[in-house]
Structures are given as structure tokens and as C-alpha cells.
Amino acid sequence: MTRLSRRDFLKLAAMAPAALAFSQTIMPSPLGTDSPNIIVLVFDAMSADNLSLYGYPRKTSPNFERLAQRSTVYHSHYSAGSFTTSGTASLLTGLYPWTHRAISINGQVAPAFAQKNIFSLFGKSYDRAGFGQNFLAELLLSEFRSGLDVHLSPAAFSVRQQVAGTFFENDTPASYYAFDDFLFRSSSSPRSLIFGLIERALFGFRLKSISTVGYSDNIPHTDYKIYYRLEDVFRGLMSQVNQFRRPFLAYFHLWSPHAPYIPSKQFEQLYKKDKWAPPKKPNHPLGDQVSFGIVQYQRQQYDAYVTNVDWEFGHFLDALETSGELDRTYLVVTSDHGEMFERGVFGHDNPLMYDPILHSPLLISAPEQNSRSDIYSQTNSVDVLPTLLKIAGRDVSAWCAGRLLPGFGGVEDDSRSTFSMDAKPGSSFGRLSVASVAMRKNGYKLIYYKGYTGTDWFELYNLHDDPEELTNLFNKDVSMSNAMKDELLTTFNQNSGPL
């Protein structure tokens, strides 16, 4: 056994502060046996604006805050899309919606970019798993299934489900489109005259036997006949994590806290009597013109549901910590888009580009990270893919629209332009003639509404001075407006052509 000399001891002691500082910077593991595991946990329609982690007055996210103590927390992270299809596609491809063109509800990534997804790019040395409880996310996973080693059914971990497409594993998503989104779609009358009747009556019978213990009326469910308990979903995911081959990349896309907002009894009364109210904002002409009272009620339900989801997430976090998995794994927690409760609108099924609908949580906990790091400069969901590729030791391809996230090789840069877009009404293949686009730069946000009415219009907000986006500066700050307008229109026109 070699003894440590006094000289060596002093050398090591001198290096200690540098080593300590180095340990605070999260370094990616090189590719090989030490490649890190990665879990990407996506909460559908979770707005960062409604999380106490980001300063929301209601205590909605104590467990997110707990995770934040050992994570890099991104305060100005925005989704590139304003609903599941476009937001998730950007997250999984690192491309803006005008490039990947998954811009219609139920849409998929254009064939030219379909192989440029996170699963294919990670390659076979990783065990790659995907779970999309939201059908729109599942449609994308189905498109990327050649890159998946484990493809969990959207109905996995459910209490009751009746998803016909799962019987046609080799031909999703066509079977999903035919059966679950059309013939047996639950939000409309059945499109199959006889089987539709039988299917719905059978499901009505099966729903009758669901235990609603712990809930006032019904347990959480999706739009596609999947009824579940949050605790079962998190328990199921944890069990999957234990089964994956190492290293693994797991993409878990949860339906909650997407509408319908169904908190358990424990949480449903939580904010019913509090005196807090958000600032009143004028209705937007493209909004739904819902009354303030209804919007407030929906917000209250949503907040209670988010708190419920956070509570169950806390148990998942406990399980990851107890098993030691968190010390071997990058845990990425984010959402595909936000949810809006203002200006006569609740939900996200609208073309508006305000922050509640785009501001997404993003926390990245690195293996053995034990301190919090806060990033305030703006980031976009297209940045997640290149960052995860870097963490896994992969090259970041030039086609990717995103950059490395600050803290993981990237730099804080507010002078960079980032975009969010919605173009649901038009064709995915043609010129984008109806769209709303938000561009952020230097703390300003320019919104462009194109083709919704006879006249296109712009809105400009200074997010530092006016985070609630109440004062439209477009006609007041002319130089800033013109500069941002020129850049936005140039970028949009370059990318909005037909495929």
C-alpha cells in the first residue's frame, strides 16, 4: 500500500476547491458503460405560471420545489407549440413546428424529419422506452416506434380502458385514427352504427364498476376512454424504470393535469375559499369570451389538480430517491405546453400565444446533483433534444433548431430569438396561411396573428416590465416593433412554404 506523502497531501488539498467547483458544473458522462440513464417526465398542459416553484401564490408544487433543490431550474422556458402535437413534436425532434409540421390535432411529423427523433438519435446502445398517455403524444411515439425498444400502450396502468387501436400493434396509428379517433370516439356519437352501440354500452357497463373511492364523482380520465388513478400510473412507471436495461432513455408523457381537471377529495376544496385572485385582463378577440367567474372556477379546479399531481409526483420522487435511481439518472421534468385561465379563455384549444399557454416548467436533475442552479435566460423546448444528446455523448446535428441548455454546455443568451407557433386551422403540407407566432428576444415578445381575421396584427410586450402582458407596445415602441417584426416575418416567410 502506497503511503500519501506530505507533498502529495498538500497538492491534493490545493486541488480540492477546484474539484469542488468542478463538481457543481454538471458534466455529461462519456458514452460507454457509464452512459447515464435519462427519464423525461412530461406533464401534459402543466403551465409554469401555475406552479409555486415559479412564484405562483397558491402552493401548488411543493414536490417540484423539493426536486428543484437538486436540479437546474429554468425560469423562462417556453414550449415551441401551444398544444400537445406541436409541443411534443418539438420536444422530441428539436425542430420548430413550421419545420416538423406536426401542427394539426392528431398530426404527425413530416416523413422527412420522422427519423430525426430523440429515440432514433440515441441509438441501440440505449434501452429506449416511450409512454404517451395522451393519444396525440402516442401518435408521435407510434411514428417513432422503430426507435423504441419498449413502447407502452397509452392505456398502460389504467383502471379501465377501451382502446381499440391497441389490438393492432403493427398498424398504429392508422388503427387509432380509424377506431379510437373516429368509429368509437367518445366525444361524439359512434360512427360505427352497430359496433358503436355495443362498444359504448359495454364501456358504460364497465365504467359502472370503477371504484371512485377518494374522488367525489369520477376518477381521472383522458378523452380516449382511459380511466386511471395517478398513484397507479406513477407506481407503474417506477416499476418500468426498474425493469429497463441500462443505460435507458425513458419518455413518459402523462395526461394529467390536462382537462378534465379531477382532483381527489383530498385536494378538490383546497383553493375554493382562498381570497387570491389573478389580475383581470381584457378578453381577447380570438378567445372564447367565457365569463371571468367560469374562468376563475376552472383555474381553481386546475390548481387543485396540479397540487394533486405534484403530491403523487412526490411519491414517485421518493421511490426514485429510495431506490438510488435518482443518483444514476438524469431526471427531466417538463410539459408539452401550458394552460390558460385569463382573457375569457380556459384551456389551450385556442390560437393565443400568451405566456400561461407557452410557459413550461423545466427542471433537470443530474445524477448526484445536490444543489440548486437557477437559469433565468429564455430557453425553448427545442433545446431539450440537443442537450439530452450531449448528455448521452451524441453529436448535436446541425439541422436541430435548438441549442444546448445553459448549465449543460450552453450559455445564457437573451439576445437569441426563440419561437412558438400554432397553426392548427390549416394544412400541414401547404403554406401556413393561418397561424399565430410568438418571438422572444431581449426580454421582449412579439406576437403575430396571421389569417384569423381580415387583417393580420401584432402585439409587443416587454416581459421584464410587464410580465402579465397587459400593455401592447406595438404602436408605442416603434423601433423595437419594427426590428422584431422584420425578423419574425423574415423567419416565418422562410419557413412557412408548402412542404
Binding site: 404527425q108 368509429l183 356519437s189 352504427l193 352497430i194 359496433f195 352501440l197 359504448r200 354500452a201 365504467l207
Partner: protein, 177 residues
Amino acid sequence: MSIKNKLPSLAQVYPVYAIIVILTYGWTIYWALWKLPSWLDFLPLGEIGVIFCYLVATNFFESLLALFGVIIVSLVLPRKWFREVFVSRGSVLAASILISIMIFEYHFDKPSDYFYKFPSYLPLILLIAGVLTFLAGWIRMIRKAVEVFAENAVIFLFISLPLSLLSLIVVIVRNII
């Protein structure tokens, strides 16, 4: 009397099946045409074609199920009541029940409606279907009119059957490969 004697002949089955095909396929195709512009927005034509194959294959099986139901009625009822006027009574029985289902489905969409409300509507549907079926065999003019209509409807089978066969092949191949 043997079961064979109560079974309708193929010549009697085709017109009744044609009526069933018009209603079951027609219902799905009507809604699919509403949906088509949305599909065209994000799906390539080939993929839309595959979706139509799933729809037609489903229609094929449900039309067979409906036909099977009419044949069962023929087996259960006395030959004189049903088998001998199979085309008119079978067509009216199938049409009245299927149209009743259409009306119900048009107005209700929750699964609970189908479990709780449909059973309470069922006696009314059966009563209407029973009366119309009885009249279709009893009043000569109605019987003739239904028979002429049903026999002319057979032409749709020349489209639906090959299309269903093709759709089934597509669905099977897509799920094997």
C-alpha cells in the same frame, strides 16, 4: 319443421343484406366524409385510404352481424310469418331497427347513455320495428314496394363486397407485416 326450411334462400338474403349494407356503410361513410377535410390536412392520401379500409372492414362485420340477427328471427318465428315474406319483413325489420339506432346515436353520445338509456328505449324500438315488420308482410302494396326497393339495392353489393374484401386484405396484410 327443420331449421333448413326456415332458413331463407340466398336469393332472399341478398336484398335484405343490401338494405343493411346501405344503412351501416352509409352511416360510417356519411361521417367519414365530414371528417375527410380534417384528415386531408395532416394525412397523406395513402394513409387516408388505409383508414377507409379499417372503416369498410368494420362495416362488413357489423353488416354480417345485423344479417345474422335477421336470420335468427327467421329461424325463431313460424315459417309463414317470416320466411315466406323474408325480403319485405327482413328488410323492414333491419331498416327500422338500424334507423332507430341512428336516431339514438345522433342524440346521445355518453357511454352511460348507452348503458342506462338505451335499454329503456329498446322496448319502444322493438315495438315500432315489430309493427312495421308486421305491416310490411301484411299490406300487399308495402310488401311489393319494399321488395322492389330491396332487390334494386342489391346493386350496392357489387360495390360493397369487393371493397370489403379488398379492405380486409389490406387490414390483414398491414397487421401481419
